[in-house]
Amino acid sequence: MPLLDIRNLTIELDTPHGRVKALERVSLTLNPGEIHGLVGESGSGRTLLAKAILGIPGHNWTVQADRMMWDGQNLMEMSARQRRALMGCEMAMIFQDPMSSLDPAISVGAQLIEAMPENKTISWWKRAADKRINAQQWLHKVGIKNTQKVMSSYAWELSDGECQKVMIAIAVANKPRLLIADEPTNSMELRTQAQIFRLLSKLNQLQNVSILLISHELETLSQWCDRLSVMYSGQIMESGPTADVIAQPYHPYTKALLDNIPDYSNAEHHKTMMHTLPGSAPALQHLPIGCRLGPRCPQAQKHCVNQPSLCHQKDRYFACHFPYHNEPCHDEPLTKS
């Protein structure tokens, strides 16, 4: 049974320009113990999806879904209190901007201790000290050496990398079953990036934590993930095992992303133009009819004004009428009246 199974999740935002569908019919399946990569450019709704899974919607959101199954329970039917109980101990999230995810008015240590699980086996007056030791151990595990100093300082006194490590320590301290990492290495130097990815994969291997890894770098994701999902403009374009997706992308958008990865081995490519799709991602208020990639897609045909539905084929999902290397999906007739 998958750990997390989402079908047709739609999130609508109330904006001053009316209601927009920021996320449309997104389906995602996450098996226990896997690292699932979610790739897409900024604005494609990856963070929205992550927040919707976790259950911290913004004030202007309307969330709808056919089902959102968490380990056999439907998240959509749970009360806010039940979902809050899941947060922290069952699911945890690492946020995009670590510095602003830590309260600026309280020391980092206090926030870390706050997140530590209570050890019910020891007497209550020893618990505070126990939490403190626990917090230090976790900080040490995520790779912070000077734990005392970090714990007594404020978030803005630390570097982004240190803040992110603290956030990871907070997130994993309760040993969650799902860790949502939203661009965990955003704005960090390569060495820290590698450290954090190693840390995440170690957690995955040793503690069997499932990880939903969100990033815009397909190259990094392909190194660490078991499965990949590609998002564009609030929709899932393609999803499948990483090796298959990289080797044989079905969707033109995935192909475009793969073409964007610079190839340094070939001397001829020196100073040639980089492959990019024409145009830019559409604003949410002006989405094209039909396939959202339509106007930019190199393979677009007349039929693409109809929205393709996500189609399932041998462990892979894709939403395209004219996929590469594959027959079109015959769930729907090509000629629609």
Binding site: I56, G88, F95, S100, S101, D103, P104, A105, I106
Partner: protein
């Protein structure tokens, strides 16, 4: 941090110096004899004239006179009250505690009720609750305090007869002044009526304190609300939610300390308005504080009282606003970030 404190002290000294200069110039413009304006002695003997002229160096130039004036004032010599012929300093020490008591009580009411109501207004999803709280605070903000004071004393004091409308305590009680704060003195007193005297003093303070508290209360509610609204959308609140913390824990531990910072800042800015409101309230409720004393001094053309009152009130306001700024910096780690000049 020490550098910062020294700079604040410097600010206090510079502002006070300007205050003294303004006072000195104003004294020379008072339409009375200069000796009477400076010391309050109405019919000085020849001996007194010589001494005063010597003390204030009245025959020297303006700058020398100002330095002498400054010396006298800093020595604590504020002169005599020209109406009662008592030392201004004694009168001041008698009236200041009553004002402090009133101001402190009103501030306490404003903060104790204002912050929870502001939090409630920001957290409530119900439009009616939100709008009614905002409407009430806007009304409170715009009501003139003299009208409010008179109306409250008319309703609760005269028509309903629940609360006394003037003075600090019933004249029947004789309480020895120890601290000057009547609420504390009544408790310290070993008279057998101490408890009933305390209750009486408490009843007396309610109406003036409520009248005075209305303005800061509304400001506190509005600022707490707007600060909470922005803070509850911050990432660190979302992150705290994602940690599975209870909403009340989030509000108490993460949102409120951050929301209190702008509230404190605005309280500091409001001190001047608060002090002038306090004077009006003291006059309305015959509260024996520095405001009522100053206003009666103005009516009686008692120039030394006017000087002493203005000097003490202005110095207090300068001192308190600098104190609040220091508190703001001490409580708020984010502003210390600017002190360290970190990005």
């Amino acid at each position: 941090m020490i550098r910062y404190l020294i700079r604040r002290l410097n600010l206090f000294l510079a502002t006070s110096l300007i205050l003294f200069i303004v006072m000195f110039i104003a004294v020379s413009k008072f339409p009375v004899d200069r000796i009477a304006a400076l010391t309050g002695v109405q019919q000085p003997t020849a001996q007194q004239i010589t001494r005063i002229t010597q003390d204030y160096r009245l025959n020297d130039g303006q700058i020398s006179q100002f330095i002498a004036y400054l010396q006298q004032r800093l020595d604590g010599d504020l002169g005599l009250s020209s109406t009662s012929q008592n030392l201004i300093l004694d009168e001041l020490t008698a009236v200041l505690p009553a004002s402090f008591e009133l101001g402190f009580f009103a501030g306490l009411i404003a903060v104790l009720f204002g912050i929870p109501l502001g939090v409630l207004a920001s957290l409530s999803t119900n439009k009616i609750t939100q709008h009614s709280i905002m409407a009430i605070t806007l009304t409170g903000y715009s009501i003139p305090v003299f009208w409010l004071g008179l109306t409250l004393s008319l309703w609760f004091g005269v028509q309903l007869g629940w609360l006394p409308i003037s003075g600090q305590i019933n004249l029947l009680y004789e309480i020895d002044s120890v601290t000057g704060f009547l609420l504390i003195d009544t408790l310290l007193s070993d008279s057998k009526y101490a408890l009933s005297a305390f209750l009486d003093a408490l009843q007396h303070i309610i109406l003036p304190a409520v009248t005075l508290a209305v303005l800061p209360f509304t400001v506190v509610v509005r600022i707490t609300r707007s600060a909470m609204m922005t803070i509850m959308e911050e990432t660190y609140i979302k992150a705290a939610e994602a940690r599975g913390l209870h909403t009340s824990t989030i509000v108490m531990r993460h949102a409120l300390p951050n929301a209190f910072i702008p509230v404190l800042k605005n309280l500091g800015l409001m001190l001047g308005a608060f002090a002038s409101y306090a004077m009006v309230v003291e006059v309305i409720f015959s509260w024996p504080g520095v405001g009522a004393w100053l206003v009666s001094g103005i009516y009686q053309r008692d120039y030394t009282v006017i000087q002493g009152g203005i000097l003490s009130v202005a110095l207090l306001i300068i001192f308190l606003s600098i104190l609040i700024e220091i508190m703001h910096t001490a409580l708020n780690p984010i502003s210390r970030k600017e002190l360290y000049a970190a990005n």
